[in-house]
Protein backbone atom coordinates (compact mmCIF):
# COMPACT_ATOMS: atom_id res chain seq x y z
CA UNK A 1 0.00 0.00 0.00
CA UNK A 2 2.80 2.32 1.00
CA UNK A 3 4.70 1.45 -2.14
CA UNK A 4 1.70 2.36 -4.24
CA UNK A 5 1.28 5.68 -2.43
CA UNK A 6 4.92 6.49 -2.85
CA UNK A 7 4.90 5.53 -6.49
CA UNK A 8 1.77 7.57 -7.10
CA UNK A 9 3.27 10.56 -5.37
CA UNK A 10 6.41 10.27 -7.44
CA UNK A 11 4.46 10.22 -10.67
CA UNK A 12 2.46 13.28 -9.66
CA UNK A 13 5.66 15.01 -8.68
CA UNK A 14 7.29 14.35 -12.00
CA UNK A 15 4.27 15.74 -13.84
CA UNK A 16 3.72 18.78 -11.71
CA UNK A 17 7.29 19.78 -11.07
CA UNK A 18 7.72 23.47 -11.48
CA UNK A 19 11.05 24.83 -12.78
CA UNK A 20 10.96 23.78 -16.37
CA UNK A 21 14.46 24.95 -17.14
CA UNK A 22 14.80 27.08 -20.26
CA UNK A 23 17.95 29.16 -20.57
CA UNK A 24 17.09 30.58 -23.99
CA UNK A 25 17.35 34.35 -24.03
CA UNK A 26 18.31 34.39 -20.37
CA UNK A 27 21.44 35.96 -18.94
CA UNK A 28 23.58 33.28 -17.33
CA UNK A 29 26.38 34.24 -14.95
CA UNK A 30 29.04 31.64 -14.19
CA UNK A 31 31.80 31.99 -11.62
CA UNK A 32 34.89 29.91 -12.35
CA UNK A 33 33.76 29.90 -15.94
CA UNK A 34 37.14 29.96 -17.61
CA UNK A 35 37.97 26.29 -17.26
CA UNK A 36 36.63 22.90 -16.33
CA UNK A 37 32.99 22.52 -15.40
CA UNK A 38 32.29 26.26 -15.54
CA UNK A 39 33.55 26.54 -19.09
CA UNK A 40 31.51 23.55 -20.28
CA UNK A 41 28.38 24.94 -18.62
CA UNK A 42 28.96 28.24 -20.39
CA UNK A 43 29.30 26.50 -23.74
CA UNK A 44 26.21 24.42 -23.10
CA UNK A 45 24.16 27.45 -22.05
CA UNK A 46 25.34 29.35 -25.12
CA UNK A 47 24.32 26.44 -27.34
CA UNK A 48 20.83 26.63 -25.78
CA UNK A 49 20.59 30.29 -26.63
CA UNK A 50 21.53 31.94 -23.38
CA UNK A 51 23.65 35.04 -22.89
CA UNK A 52 26.67 33.81 -21.01
CA UNK A 53 28.93 36.07 -19.04
CA UNK A 54 32.06 34.03 -19.39
CA UNK A 55 33.98 34.00 -22.64
CA UNK A 56 34.69 36.54 -25.38
CA UNK A 57 32.77 35.52 -28.54
CA UNK A 58 30.21 37.56 -30.40
CA UNK A 59 27.36 35.65 -31.96
CA UNK A 60 24.40 37.50 -33.44
CA UNK A 61 22.27 38.90 -30.65
CA UNK A 62 23.75 36.80 -27.91
CA UNK A 63 26.14 38.55 -25.58
CA UNK A 64 29.14 36.77 -24.17
CA UNK A 65 31.36 38.53 -21.69
CA UNK A 66 34.48 37.67 -19.78
CA UNK A 67 35.10 39.31 -16.46
CA UNK A 68 38.29 38.96 -14.52
CA UNK A 69 37.84 39.06 -10.77
CA UNK A 70 39.22 37.61 -7.58
CA UNK A 71 36.06 36.10 -6.22
CA UNK A 72 37.54 35.51 -2.79
CA UNK A 73 37.31 39.26 -2.34
CA UNK A 74 33.87 40.68 -1.53
CA UNK A 75 34.32 43.98 -3.41
CA UNK A 76 35.67 42.18 -6.47
CA UNK A 77 32.69 39.82 -6.47
CA UNK A 78 30.29 42.76 -6.41
CA UNK A 79 32.23 44.53 -9.15
CA UNK A 80 32.10 41.44 -11.34
CA UNK A 81 28.34 41.18 -10.87
CA UNK A 82 27.98 44.89 -11.68
CA UNK A 83 29.97 44.50 -14.87
CA UNK A 84 27.87 41.54 -15.92
CA UNK A 85 24.63 43.41 -15.21
CA UNK A 86 25.81 46.56 -16.98
CA UNK A 87 25.74 44.68 -20.28
CA UNK A 88 22.04 44.05 -19.70
CA UNK A 89 20.84 47.50 -18.63
CA UNK A 90 21.64 46.86 -15.00
CA UNK A 91 19.39 43.84 -14.80
CA UNK A 92 20.79 41.13 -12.55
CA UNK A 93 21.60 37.84 -14.36
CA UNK A 94 18.67 35.43 -14.28
CA UNK A 95 20.72 32.30 -13.76
CA UNK A 96 23.77 32.14 -11.52
CA UNK A 97 26.14 29.15 -11.54
CA UNK A 98 28.73 29.23 -8.76
CA UNK A 99 31.49 26.91 -9.97
CA UNK A 100 34.60 28.67 -8.73
CA UNK A 101 36.44 26.42 -6.34
CA UNK A 102 39.51 24.31 -5.80
CA UNK A 103 40.83 21.46 -3.71
CA UNK A 104 44.16 20.77 -1.97
CA UNK A 105 44.01 17.19 -0.74
CA UNK A 106 46.59 16.45 1.93
CA UNK A 107 47.10 14.52 5.14
CA UNK A 108 45.42 16.58 7.87
CA UNK A 109 48.26 17.10 10.32
CA UNK A 110 50.68 17.89 7.50
CA UNK A 111 48.46 20.49 5.89
CA UNK A 112 49.20 24.15 6.67
CA UNK A 113 46.29 26.03 8.21
CA UNK A 114 46.47 28.67 5.46
CA UNK A 115 45.30 26.07 2.94
CA UNK A 116 42.15 25.38 4.94
CA UNK A 117 41.46 29.11 5.02
CA UNK A 118 42.11 29.69 1.33
CA UNK A 119 39.91 26.77 0.32
CA UNK A 120 36.98 27.93 2.45
CA UNK A 121 37.48 31.50 1.24
CA UNK A 122 36.99 30.65 -2.42
CA UNK A 123 34.72 27.63 -2.28
CA UNK A 124 32.24 28.96 0.26
CA UNK A 125 32.69 32.72 0.60
CA UNK A 126 33.41 33.16 -3.10
CA UNK A 127 30.00 31.61 -3.69
CA UNK A 128 28.28 33.41 -0.82
CA UNK A 129 29.38 36.92 -1.86
CA UNK A 130 27.97 36.50 -5.37
CA UNK A 131 24.78 34.75 -4.30
CA UNK A 132 24.00 37.19 -1.48
CA UNK A 133 24.26 40.20 -3.77
CA UNK A 134 22.51 38.53 -6.70
CA UNK A 135 19.58 37.40 -4.59
CA UNK A 136 19.14 40.89 -3.12
CA UNK A 137 18.96 42.30 -6.63
CA UNK A 138 16.65 39.54 -7.89
CA UNK A 139 14.27 40.33 -5.05
CA UNK A 140 14.49 44.07 -5.68
CA UNK A 141 14.14 43.78 -9.47
CA UNK A 142 11.52 41.04 -9.19
CA UNK A 143 13.59 38.64 -11.27
CA UNK A 144 12.42 35.08 -10.62
CA UNK A 145 15.88 33.71 -11.08
CA UNK A 146 17.77 30.48 -10.50
CA UNK A 147 20.78 29.86 -8.31
CA UNK A 148 22.93 26.78 -8.89
CA UNK A 149 25.66 26.02 -6.38
CA UNK A 150 28.32 23.48 -7.22
CA UNK A 151 29.04 21.26 -4.25
CA UNK A 152 30.48 17.75 -4.49
CA UNK A 153 29.88 14.22 -3.27
CA UNK A 154 32.42 15.32 -0.70
CA UNK A 155 29.72 17.69 0.49
CA UNK A 156 27.71 14.66 1.50
CA UNK A 157 30.46 12.49 2.96
CA UNK A 158 34.14 12.80 3.72
CA UNK A 159 37.29 10.71 3.82
CA UNK A 160 41.00 10.87 4.39
CA UNK A 161 42.85 13.60 2.55
CA UNK A 162 39.92 15.91 2.02
CA UNK A 163 39.71 17.58 5.41
CA UNK A 164 40.34 21.03 3.89
CA UNK A 165 37.88 20.52 1.05
CA UNK A 166 34.93 18.46 2.30
CA UNK A 167 33.91 21.03 4.96
CA UNK A 168 33.71 23.73 2.28
CA UNK A 169 31.46 21.58 0.13
CA UNK A 170 29.34 20.59 3.12
CA UNK A 171 28.94 24.29 3.84
CA UNK A 172 27.66 24.78 0.29
CA UNK A 173 25.13 22.01 0.84
CA UNK A 174 23.98 23.74 4.04
CA UNK A 175 23.61 26.97 2.12
CA UNK A 176 21.60 25.26 -0.63
CA UNK A 177 19.20 23.84 1.95
CA UNK A 178 18.63 27.09 3.77
CA UNK A 179 18.27 29.11 0.61
CA UNK A 180 15.96 26.59 -1.03
CA UNK A 181 13.53 27.14 1.83
CA UNK A 182 14.00 30.83 2.07
CA UNK A 183 14.14 32.01 -1.53
CA UNK A 184 10.81 30.39 -2.40
CA UNK A 185 9.47 33.62 -0.89
CA UNK A 186 10.90 35.58 -3.83
CA UNK A 187 10.18 33.02 -6.54
CA UNK A 188 13.88 32.18 -6.82
CA UNK A 189 14.77 28.51 -7.21
CA UNK A 190 17.90 26.98 -5.77
CA UNK A 191 19.80 23.86 -6.83
CA UNK A 192 22.88 22.07 -5.59
CA UNK A 193 25.11 20.01 -7.86
CA UNK A 194 26.90 17.14 -6.14
CA UNK A 195 29.44 16.22 -8.74
CA UNK A 196 31.71 13.23 -8.51
CA UNK A 197 35.25 13.43 -9.84
CA UNK A 198 35.51 15.51 -13.01
CA UNK A 199 38.49 15.45 -15.36
CA UNK A 200 39.49 19.11 -15.36
CA UNK A 201 42.72 21.14 -15.21
CA UNK A 202 41.95 21.59 -11.51
CA UNK A 203 41.81 17.82 -11.07
CA UNK A 204 45.24 17.43 -12.68
CA UNK A 205 46.68 20.01 -10.31
CA UNK A 206 45.18 18.10 -7.39
CA UNK A 207 46.68 14.83 -8.53
CA UNK A 208 50.18 16.25 -8.14
CA UNK A 209 49.78 16.48 -4.36
CA UNK A 210 47.03 13.99 -3.51
CA UNK A 211 48.00 11.36 -0.92
CA UNK A 212 48.08 7.85 -2.40
CA UNK A 213 45.53 6.50 0.07
CA UNK A 214 43.05 9.22 -0.92
CA UNK A 215 43.52 8.35 -4.57
CA UNK A 216 43.03 4.66 -3.82
CA UNK A 217 39.71 5.33 -2.09
CA UNK A 218 38.50 7.75 -4.71
CA UNK A 219 39.36 5.46 -7.57
CA UNK A 220 40.06 6.44 -11.11
CA UNK A 221 36.59 6.75 -12.45
CA UNK A 222 35.89 10.27 -13.51
CA UNK A 223 33.72 12.02 -16.06
CA UNK A 224 34.56 14.67 -18.60
CA UNK A 225 33.59 18.27 -17.91
CA UNK A 226 31.24 18.04 -20.84
CA UNK A 227 29.45 15.06 -19.36
CA UNK A 228 29.27 16.74 -15.96
CA UNK A 229 27.79 19.88 -17.49
CA UNK A 230 25.19 17.80 -19.32
CA UNK A 231 24.24 15.94 -16.13
CA UNK A 232 23.79 19.23 -14.38
CA UNK A 233 21.69 20.56 -17.25
CA UNK A 234 19.53 17.42 -17.24
CA UNK A 235 19.02 17.70 -13.51
CA UNK A 236 17.96 21.32 -13.87
CA UNK A 237 15.52 20.44 -16.63
CA UNK A 238 13.96 17.83 -14.36
CA UNK A 239 13.67 20.43 -11.63
CA UNK A 240 15.76 18.43 -9.18
CA UNK A 241 17.04 20.31 -6.17
CA UNK A 242 19.96 18.02 -5.47
CA UNK A 243 21.64 16.95 -8.69
CA UNK A 244 24.26 14.27 -9.19
CA UNK A 245 26.24 12.88 -12.10
CA UNK A 246 25.59 9.17 -11.92
CA UNK A 247 24.00 6.26 -10.06
CA UNK A 248 26.69 5.99 -7.39
CA UNK A 249 26.39 9.68 -6.74
CA UNK A 250 22.67 9.23 -6.61
CA UNK A 251 22.96 6.47 -4.01
CA UNK A 252 25.12 8.65 -1.81
CA UNK A 253 22.78 11.54 -2.31
CA UNK A 254 19.66 9.51 -1.52
CA UNK A 255 21.15 8.11 1.67
CA UNK A 256 22.32 11.51 2.88
CA UNK A 257 19.18 13.40 2.18
CA UNK A 258 18.27 14.63 5.55
CA UNK A 259 15.19 16.70 5.22
CA UNK A 260 16.21 17.80 1.77
CA UNK A 261 13.86 17.30 -1.09
CA UNK A 262 13.93 13.85 -2.60
CA UNK A 263 14.16 14.04 -6.37
CA UNK A 264 11.78 11.16 -6.80
CA UNK A 265 10.54 9.57 -3.61
CA UNK A 266 10.14 6.09 -5.00
CA UNK A 267 13.48 5.92 -6.79
CA UNK A 268 15.22 7.47 -3.83
CA UNK A 269 13.63 4.97 -1.44
CA UNK A 270 15.04 2.08 -3.44
CA UNK A 271 18.47 3.66 -3.70
CA UNK A 272 18.39 4.42 -0.02
CA UNK A 273 17.67 0.82 0.82
CA UNK A 274 20.45 -0.37 -1.44
CA UNK A 275 22.89 2.10 0.06
CA UNK A 276 21.86 1.11 3.58
CA UNK A 277 22.32 -2.57 2.95
CA UNK A 278 25.51 -2.04 0.94
Amino acid sequence: MIFILLLGNSLFTEILKRDKFCPKGKHVYITGGSSGLGKEIAKLMASKGAHAARSREDHENLKFTAIFADLTDYDESIRALNEASSKHNGRVPEIIFCCAGFSLPRIFIEQPIKEFEKTMQLNYFGTLYTVHEAVKRMAQQNVKGKIVLVSSLLGLCGFIGYSSYAPTKHAIKGLVECLRNELILYGISVHGYFAGTIDTPGYHEEMKIKPKVTHDIEGDSKVTSEHAAKSLYNGLCKGNVFITTDIVGDAIRASSLGISQANNAFYDAILCFIAWVG
Binding site: G174, L175, E177, C178, Q261
Partner: protein
Protein backbone atom coordinates in the same frame (compact mmCIF):
# COMPACT_ATOMS: atom_id res chain seq x y z
CA UNK B 1 32.62 1.70 27.45
CA UNK B 2 34.90 4.72 27.76
CA UNK B 3 35.67 6.24 31.15
CA UNK B 4 36.60 9.89 31.65
CA UNK B 5 38.12 9.21 35.08
CA UNK B 6 41.51 10.90 35.42
CA UNK B 7 41.37 12.13 31.81
CA UNK B 8 42.08 15.76 30.96
CA UNK B 9 39.09 17.26 29.17
CA UNK B 10 39.57 20.53 27.27
CA UNK B 11 36.38 22.39 26.39
CA UNK B 12 36.23 25.46 24.16
CA UNK B 13 33.35 27.78 24.92
CA UNK B 14 33.23 26.13 28.32
CA UNK B 15 32.11 29.07 30.43
CA UNK B 16 28.42 28.94 29.52
CA UNK B 17 25.64 26.76 28.21
CA UNK B 18 26.44 23.27 26.98
CA UNK B 19 30.20 23.69 27.52
CA UNK B 20 29.81 24.60 31.16
CA UNK B 21 27.29 21.83 31.91
CA UNK B 22 29.52 19.30 30.23
CA UNK B 23 32.50 20.56 32.22
CA UNK B 24 30.55 20.12 35.47
CA UNK B 25 29.48 16.63 34.45
CA UNK B 26 33.07 15.68 33.67
CA UNK B 27 34.25 17.05 37.00
CA UNK B 28 31.62 15.01 38.82
CA UNK B 29 32.92 11.89 37.06
CA UNK B 30 36.47 12.48 38.21
CA UNK B 31 38.03 14.12 35.17
CA UNK B 32 40.47 17.04 35.07
CA UNK B 33 38.86 19.93 33.24
CA UNK B 34 40.16 23.02 31.43
CA UNK B 35 37.70 25.41 29.89
CA UNK B 36 38.49 28.20 27.46
CA UNK B 37 36.39 31.19 26.43
CA UNK B 38 36.75 34.92 25.95
CA UNK B 39 35.35 36.47 29.10
CA UNK B 40 37.46 36.05 32.23
CA UNK B 41 34.49 36.94 34.44
CA UNK B 42 32.32 34.16 33.00
CA UNK B 43 35.22 31.73 33.20
CA UNK B 44 35.76 32.45 36.89
CA UNK B 45 32.09 31.96 37.69
CA UNK B 46 32.02 28.72 35.73
CA UNK B 47 35.14 27.49 37.53
CA UNK B 48 33.36 27.79 40.87
CA UNK B 49 30.46 25.72 39.58
CA UNK B 50 32.81 23.08 38.16
CA UNK B 51 34.65 22.76 41.46
CA UNK B 52 31.35 22.47 43.28
CA UNK B 53 30.26 19.66 40.98
CA UNK B 54 33.27 17.57 42.05
CA UNK B 55 33.37 18.55 45.70
CA UNK B 56 31.71 15.43 47.03
CA UNK B 57 34.32 13.19 45.42
CA UNK B 58 36.98 11.58 47.59
CA UNK B 59 39.68 12.33 45.02
CA UNK B 60 38.64 16.00 44.78
CA UNK B 61 42.05 17.26 45.93
CA UNK B 62 43.78 15.45 43.06
CA UNK B 63 41.59 16.89 40.35
CA UNK B 64 42.81 19.89 38.36
CA UNK B 65 40.35 22.50 37.14
CA UNK B 66 41.63 25.44 35.10
CA UNK B 67 40.45 28.27 32.91
CA UNK B 68 42.03 30.01 29.92
CA UNK B 69 40.83 33.27 28.46
CA UNK B 70 41.27 33.35 24.67
CA UNK B 71 39.64 34.46 21.45
CA UNK B 72 39.25 31.07 19.79
CA UNK B 73 38.40 32.55 16.42
CA UNK B 74 42.08 33.54 16.20
CA UNK B 75 44.76 31.00 15.38
CA UNK B 76 47.47 32.29 17.72
CA UNK B 77 45.08 32.58 20.65
CA UNK B 78 43.79 29.04 20.09
CA UNK B 79 47.36 27.68 20.19
CA UNK B 80 48.19 29.72 23.26
CA UNK B 81 45.06 28.44 25.02
CA UNK B 82 46.02 24.84 24.22
CA UNK B 83 49.56 25.52 25.49
CA UNK B 84 48.26 26.93 28.75
CA UNK B 85 45.92 23.99 29.24
CA UNK B 86 48.73 21.53 28.59
CA UNK B 87 51.19 23.36 30.83
CA UNK B 88 49.10 22.39 33.89
CA UNK B 89 49.63 18.75 32.91
CA UNK B 90 53.39 18.71 32.25
CA UNK B 91 52.95 19.72 28.64
CA UNK B 92 50.79 16.73 27.83
CA UNK B 93 48.06 17.52 25.33
CA UNK B 94 44.55 17.08 26.74
CA UNK B 95 43.03 13.62 26.28
CA UNK B 96 39.66 14.84 25.13
CA UNK B 97 39.05 17.99 23.09
CA UNK B 98 35.49 19.29 22.97
CA UNK B 99 35.15 21.89 20.21
CA UNK B 100 32.04 23.59 21.47
CA UNK B 101 32.61 27.33 21.05
CA UNK B 102 30.17 28.77 18.56
CA UNK B 103 27.68 31.51 17.79
CA UNK B 104 24.45 31.75 15.87
CA UNK B 105 22.98 34.86 14.27
CA UNK B 106 19.70 33.81 12.68
CA UNK B 107 18.02 36.14 10.25
CA UNK B 108 16.56 36.58 6.80
CA UNK B 109 19.30 35.95 4.21
CA UNK B 110 19.09 39.14 2.20
CA UNK B 111 18.81 41.31 5.29
CA UNK B 112 21.87 40.07 7.12
CA UNK B 113 25.26 41.78 6.53
CA UNK B 114 28.01 39.64 5.03
CA UNK B 115 30.32 40.10 7.97
CA UNK B 116 27.96 38.05 10.16
CA UNK B 117 28.51 35.10 7.85
CA UNK B 118 32.24 35.58 8.12
CA UNK B 119 32.23 35.92 11.91
CA UNK B 120 30.06 32.84 12.34
CA UNK B 121 32.25 30.68 10.10
CA UNK B 122 35.38 32.04 11.73
CA UNK B 123 34.41 30.94 15.22
CA UNK B 124 32.23 27.91 14.57
CA UNK B 125 34.43 26.22 11.97
CA UNK B 126 37.89 27.77 12.09
CA UNK B 127 37.77 28.04 15.87
CA UNK B 128 37.26 24.27 16.01
CA UNK B 129 39.78 23.64 13.24
CA UNK B 130 42.63 25.59 14.84
CA UNK B 131 42.33 23.73 18.14
CA UNK B 132 41.72 20.34 16.52
CA UNK B 133 44.61 20.65 14.07
CA UNK B 134 47.12 21.50 16.78
CA UNK B 135 45.73 18.98 19.26
CA UNK B 136 45.76 16.16 16.70
CA UNK B 137 49.38 16.94 15.81
CA UNK B 138 50.39 16.78 19.47
CA UNK B 139 48.37 13.65 20.17
CA UNK B 140 50.16 11.95 17.27
CA UNK B 141 53.57 13.20 18.44
CA UNK B 142 53.01 12.32 22.10
CA UNK B 143 51.29 9.00 21.42
CA UNK B 144 48.14 10.14 23.20
CA UNK B 145 45.20 8.03 22.04
CA UNK B 146 42.80 10.89 22.51
CA UNK B 147 39.33 11.95 21.50
CA UNK B 148 38.17 14.86 19.40
CA UNK B 149 34.53 15.90 19.71
CA UNK B 150 32.96 18.41 17.33
CA UNK B 151 29.80 20.05 18.54
CA UNK B 152 27.73 20.44 15.41
CA UNK B 153 23.97 20.77 15.37
CA UNK B 154 20.88 19.37 13.69
CA UNK B 155 21.40 22.46 11.55
CA UNK B 156 24.50 20.63 10.38
CA UNK B 157 22.30 17.89 9.00
CA UNK B 158 19.64 20.05 7.47
CA UNK B 159 19.13 23.74 6.95
CA UNK B 160 16.08 25.89 6.95
CA UNK B 161 14.91 29.43 6.69
CA UNK B 162 16.73 31.85 8.94
CA UNK B 163 19.89 29.83 9.48
CA UNK B 164 21.79 30.60 6.30
CA UNK B 165 24.76 31.99 8.24
CA UNK B 166 24.78 29.17 10.80
CA UNK B 167 23.85 25.92 9.07
CA UNK B 168 26.78 26.01 6.61
CA UNK B 169 29.21 26.35 9.53
CA UNK B 170 27.71 23.36 11.30
CA UNK B 171 27.66 21.40 8.06
CA UNK B 172 31.34 22.22 7.66
CA UNK B 173 32.00 20.79 11.12
CA UNK B 174 30.28 17.60 10.13
CA UNK B 175 32.39 17.40 6.97
CA UNK B 176 35.52 17.91 9.04
CA UNK B 177 34.47 15.32 11.61
CA UNK B 178 33.78 12.76 8.88
CA UNK B 179 37.15 13.23 7.23
CA UNK B 180 38.96 13.17 10.55
CA UNK B 181 37.10 10.10 11.76
CA UNK B 182 38.63 8.34 8.81
CA UNK B 183 42.02 9.92 8.98
CA UNK B 184 42.84 10.02 12.67
CA UNK B 185 42.28 6.27 13.04
CA UNK B 186 45.91 6.15 11.89
CA UNK B 187 46.95 7.69 15.20
CA UNK B 188 44.36 5.89 17.36
CA UNK B 189 42.50 9.14 17.89
CA UNK B 190 38.73 8.75 17.87
CA UNK B 191 36.41 11.40 16.54
CA UNK B 192 32.83 12.18 17.48
CA UNK B 193 30.29 14.61 16.16
CA UNK B 194 27.43 15.87 18.28
CA UNK B 195 24.28 16.92 16.47
CA UNK B 196 22.58 18.78 19.26
CA UNK B 197 19.05 20.01 18.93
CA UNK B 198 18.12 23.41 20.31
CA UNK B 199 19.51 23.97 23.80
CA UNK B 200 18.21 26.53 26.28
CA UNK B 201 21.37 28.51 26.96
CA UNK B 202 22.21 32.21 27.45
CA UNK B 203 23.25 32.28 23.76
CA UNK B 204 19.88 30.82 22.79
CA UNK B 205 18.14 33.60 24.68
CA UNK B 206 20.21 36.15 22.79
CA UNK B 207 19.36 34.45 19.51
CA UNK B 208 15.66 34.52 20.26
CA UNK B 209 15.73 38.31 20.32
CA UNK B 210 16.70 38.50 16.65
CA UNK B 211 15.28 35.25 15.28
CA UNK B 212 12.60 35.58 12.59
CA UNK B 213 9.22 34.32 13.79
CA UNK B 214 8.94 31.69 11.10
CA UNK B 215 12.29 30.21 12.13
CA UNK B 216 11.05 29.97 15.71
CA UNK B 217 7.91 28.21 14.52
CA UNK B 218 9.91 25.61 12.67
CA UNK B 219 12.41 25.05 15.41
CA UNK B 220 10.21 24.14 18.34
CA UNK B 221 11.26 23.86 21.98
CA UNK B 222 14.75 23.62 23.44
CA UNK B 223 16.16 21.06 25.88
CA UNK B 224 18.18 21.98 28.98
CA UNK B 225 21.97 22.22 28.80
CA UNK B 226 22.15 19.52 31.47
CA UNK B 227 20.24 17.05 29.33
CA UNK B 228 22.26 18.01 26.30
CA UNK B 229 25.49 17.42 28.23
CA UNK B 230 24.25 14.04 29.46
CA UNK B 231 23.36 12.95 25.93
CA UNK B 232 26.81 13.93 24.69
CA UNK B 233 28.50 12.09 27.54
CA UNK B 234 26.48 8.94 26.87
CA UNK B 235 27.35 9.06 23.18
CA UNK B 236 31.06 9.45 23.84
CA UNK B 237 31.12 6.61 26.36
CA UNK B 238 29.36 4.32 23.91
CA UNK B 239 31.89 5.26 21.25
CA UNK B 240 29.32 6.61 18.83
CA UNK B 241 30.59 8.82 16.04
CA UNK B 242 27.23 10.38 15.38
CA UNK B 243 25.68 11.62 18.62
CA UNK B 244 22.31 13.26 18.97
CA UNK B 245 20.54 14.83 21.90
CA UNK B 246 17.11 13.31 21.66
CA UNK B 247 14.89 10.89 19.81
CA UNK B 248 13.89 13.46 17.20
CA UNK B 249 17.53 14.03 16.48
CA UNK B 250 17.96 10.27 16.36
CA UNK B 251 15.14 9.86 13.93
CA UNK B 252 16.57 12.69 11.91
CA UNK B 253 19.86 10.96 11.89
CA UNK B 254 18.73 7.50 10.94
CA UNK B 255 15.59 7.90 9.02
CA UNK B 256 14.08 7.54 5.67
CA UNK B 257 13.56 9.83 2.82
CA UNK B 258 13.28 13.52 2.27
CA UNK B 259 10.08 15.44 2.07
CA UNK B 260 7.12 14.40 0.04
CA UNK B 261 6.47 17.17 -2.37
CA UNK B 262 3.25 18.78 -1.21
CA UNK B 263 1.74 19.00 -4.62
CA UNK B 264 -1.75 19.03 -3.17
CA UNK B 265 -1.37 22.62 -2.04
CA UNK B 266 -0.55 25.05 -4.81
CA UNK B 267 -0.78 28.20 -2.70
CA UNK B 268 2.71 29.40 -1.83
CA UNK B 269 2.32 30.35 1.82
CA UNK B 270 0.71 27.12 2.86
CA UNK B 271 3.06 25.19 0.64
CA UNK B 272 6.06 26.59 2.40
CA UNK B 273 4.59 25.92 5.82
CA UNK B 274 3.67 22.39 4.93
CA UNK B 275 6.99 21.69 3.35
CA UNK B 276 8.61 22.82 6.53
CA UNK B 277 6.21 20.81 8.64
CA UNK B 278 6.86 17.76 6.54
CA UNK B 279 10.56 18.26 6.82
CA UNK B 280 10.25 18.20 10.56
CA UNK B 281 8.20 15.04 10.50
CA UNK B 282 9.90 13.26 7.65
CA UNK B 283 13.25 13.29 9.23
CA UNK B 284 16.63 12.67 7.86
CA UNK B 285 18.50 9.79 6.53
CA UNK B 286 21.81 11.39 7.03
CA UNK B 287 24.00 8.43 7.58
CA UNK B 288 25.36 8.39 4.06
CA UNK B 289 28.59 6.49 4.42
CA UNK B 290 29.04 7.40 8.07
CA UNK B 291 28.93 4.49 10.50
CA UNK B 292 25.49 3.57 11.66
CA UNK B 293 25.34 3.63 15.45
CA UNK B 294 23.42 0.41 15.55
CA UNK B 295 22.33 -0.98 12.25
CA UNK B 296 19.25 -2.72 13.61
CA UNK B 297 18.00 0.24 15.62
CA UNK B 298 18.66 2.59 12.76
CA UNK B 299 16.89 0.32 10.35
CA UNK B 300 13.89 0.29 12.65
CA UNK B 301 13.85 4.06 13.04
CA UNK B 302 14.27 4.38 9.33
CA UNK B 303 11.25 2.20 8.76
CA UNK B 304 9.16 4.03 11.34
CA UNK B 305 9.86 7.49 10.01
CA UNK B 306 9.44 6.38 6.44
CA UNK B 307 6.03 4.98 7.16
CA UNK B 308 5.13 7.81 9.54
Amino acid sequence: DYSVYNQHIYITGGSKGLGKEFAKLMASKGAHVTISARGQGDLDLALEEIKEAAQSREDYENLKFNVVSADLSKYDDSIRALDEASSKHDGRVPDVIICNAGISLPGIFIERPIDEYEKTMQLNYFGALYTTHEAAKRMAQQGVKGKIVMVSSVAGLCGFLGYSSYAPTKHALRGLAECLRHELILYDISVHCYFAGTIDTPSYKEEEKIKPKITKDIEGNPITPKDAAKALYKGICKGNFFITSDIIGDAMRASALGTINNFFFPEIGLKLKLEILFTCIYCLHNIGISPSNNAFFDGLLCGITWVG
